[in-house]
């Protein structure tokens, strides 16, 4: 079966050193033994050679096929790449170094026209489809482009000589987050770029904390290293755009003594399209997209932005979320307003939301069956994030589990109702929070003792739904300093 290739405007004639030379004029035939149609037309190849009509004959898999005709060995597929062969057999006519005609497979009329031999293949069937070219196998085009063509890539190249191990070399160079990374070979980076639809040299922004320019190519390189697939590219680029918003304060996240990672939440059809997990174990391990999308952003910060742990990244203790946390929202229940929609993205559109992540805390209430009880119960846990006496400057994201959502839904509560109730239930008398109260030195100023104090700013508490169907659990993602003087959650539409 023919596999469509992702042609990104490659100049296949671009020479590299030791480039092979194709005949400038005449007919060129490309075949492979492992193709019934190529074997069918083997006598015709012999006839063309005997008549002196073939300027070039290339065999993709066997230099002894067609037998006795001494074809050029094209097992390295350079000729097939330069001739842009998708199907074998392919018969090409070239004049003055340019292709003027071609036919694929076996079609008697076309072969007769191309060769000028009116009786050619008279004993054969009228037509037979060809087979897929080895040069058109999935991923092969980029591999051949990297080897033989002009890649359009500009990143500095490093050659890792056998028996050196490229993964170990990347550890030695400090290019990782502590986990192994996939070697960013030119072929892999080209495949990744095919998912971008943007020029490799386009600058997407300046990555903190060093604020160096980052190109689409550098994004692709780090995505390869993180283990991403090309189809994640629109999500990563949109997330990067969100991270670079000054209001997100990414430089602060990357350099603060607190332990802050990224939370990437994906909404809309692209989540399902790239296979993201919003169900069982969504915030955990096991899903490639969930595991690699935020990791790619963190690698970009380390490698392009210079956010080396222990270097500019001054996190005192850190936490596992520094590797990056990504998940999709469960949008399977139409009664629930998705996070992105609540933030102004049109229903049905794809979007990505970025939220600072100072760590997650599991929350368990398996007995509350009433919305008011569950709300008070959730509020009791939310009051403790950062510090029970800390108010007003730390945001939180509540990841509402499915069964907890069912408790609220049964009484007609939606996103807005739950959020408002949680705000109400997390207000506390200032007198309980003043410095020194309870024998605890930290707290609010004594002047606020008579106030009724909100735990969260008006937009400091967000809700998202994820997780498996069973289990009366939710999870709290602790944010960082929020609002105008900290990191504001960012949402971007993902266009693909």
């Amino acid at each position: 079966m023919h596999v469509p290739r992702m042609d990104v405007g490659i100049d296949r004639s671009q020479p590299k050193e030791d480039v092979m030379t194709l005949p400038n004029d005449g007919l060129i035939l490309v075949v492979k033994r492992d193709c019934p149609t190529c074997r069918l037309i083997e006598p015709l190849a012999r006839e063309l050679v005997e008549r002196g009509l073939l300027a070039g004959l290339y065999s993709q898999d066997d230099p002894d096929f067609p037998a006795q005709l001494e074809p050029t060995d094209d097992r390295h597929l350079e000729a097939s790449y330069r001739l842009n062969i998708d199907i074998v057999p392919t018969l090409v006519r070239r004049e003055d170094g340019r292709e003027t005609d071609r036919t694929i497979g076996w079609h008697r009329g076309e072969w007769q026209n191309l060769t000028g031999l009116k009786e050619l293949g008279a004993g054969l069937p009228n037509e037979r489809p060809g087979c897929g070219s080895l040069s058109a196998a999935p991923g092969m085009d980029e591999a051949l482009q990297a080897r033989f063509g002009a890649t359009g890539l500009s990143a500095r190249e490093f050659s890792v000589e056998f028996p050196e191990d490229e993964v170990e070399q990347m550890f030695d160079r400090g290019w990782t987050d502590g986990l192994p990374v996939v070697p960013p070979t030119p072929a892999r980076v080209l495949r990744m770029l095919a998912g971008a639809g943007r020029a490799p040299d386009e600058i997407v922004g300046q990555i903190p904390p060093a604020f160096d320019d980052c190109t689409v190519e550098k994004v692709a390189i780090n995505m390869v290293m993180a283990g991403c697939r090309p189809e994640y590219m629109p999500i990563v680029l949109s997330a990067l755009d969100a991270a670079l918003d000054p209001d997100f304060a990414w430089s602060g996240l990357l350099s603060t003594t607190m332990g802050v990672g990224l939370t990437v939440i994906v909404n809309g059809p692209i989540a399902e399209r790239v296979g993201m997990n919003w169900g069982m174990g969504a915030l955990g391990h096991g899903n490639r997209a969930n595991s690699t999308i935020a990791r790619a952003l963190q690698l970009i910060a380390i490698n392009v932005g210079g956010a080396q742990p222990g270097g500019v990244d001054r996190t005192t203790i850190g936490h596992p979320g520094k590797y990056g946390l990504a998940f999709a929202e469960d949008e399977t229940d139409g009664a629930w307003e998705p996070l992105a929609v609540s933030r102004g993205i049109a229903t049905g559109s794809s979007a990505v939301t970025l939220f600072a992540n100072c760590g997650t805390a599991s929350y368990c209430d398996e007995l509350s069956r009433d919305a008011h009880s569950l709300n008070r119960s959730l509020a009791a846990c939310l009051l403790n994030i950062y510090h029970p006496k800390s108010v007003g400057d730390i945001d939180a994201m509540l990841v509402l589990g499915s069964e907890h959502w069912q408790v609220f839904k049964a009484q007609g509560w939606g996103r807005a109702d739950i959020t408002a109730a949680l705000h109400d239930a997390t207000r506390r008398p200032g007198a309980d929070l003043v410095r020194g109260v309870g024998g605890i030195g930290t707290g609010i100023e004594p002047e606020q003792a008579d106030s009724d104090v909100a735990k969260f700013r008006e937009d400091g508490l967000s809700l998202v739904r994820a997780g498996g169907r069973a289990g009366l659990f939710s999870t709290i993602i602790c944010g960082w300093s929020g609002g105008a003087f900290g990191s504001r959650m960012q949402t971007r539409e993902v266009k693909s």
Binding site: R156, M170, D212, G306, S487
Partner: protein, 94 residues
């Protein structure tokens, strides 16, 4: 065996410039000291004390404040310190 793998540089490929630290002045007499408060809680306590001690020695002090410790200092503050001060002290933490 002659195998090699090409890998691409994931970094910004910056050329790092090493700058020597300036030599500490032998005396603060006649110099202007900038005190930068990054708006961390209680950073002002430390800077107030420094200002008091510098004042006792007759050293001129100028105070600057970042709007928030979560973001880098606005360029105008950095430029003002560079133009108006000989040395600076930054209170980093609470």
């Amino acid at each position: 065996m002659n195998q090699s793998t090409i890998i691409l540089d994931p970094t910004a490929e910056r050329s790092e410039t090493m700058r020597a630290r300036i030599t500490p002045p032998p005396s603060l007499a006649g110099l202007t000291v900038g005190l930068l408060d990054i708006s961390k809680p209680r950073g002002d306590v430390f800077l107030d004390r420094l200002q008091s001690r510098f004042g006792e020695q007759g050293i001129e002090v100028r105070r600057y404040t970042k709007p928030t410790y979560t973001k880098k200092a606005p360029d105008e503050i950095a430029a003002a310190i560079a133009e108006q001060c000989d040395i600076a002290v930054e209170a980093l933490a609470d």
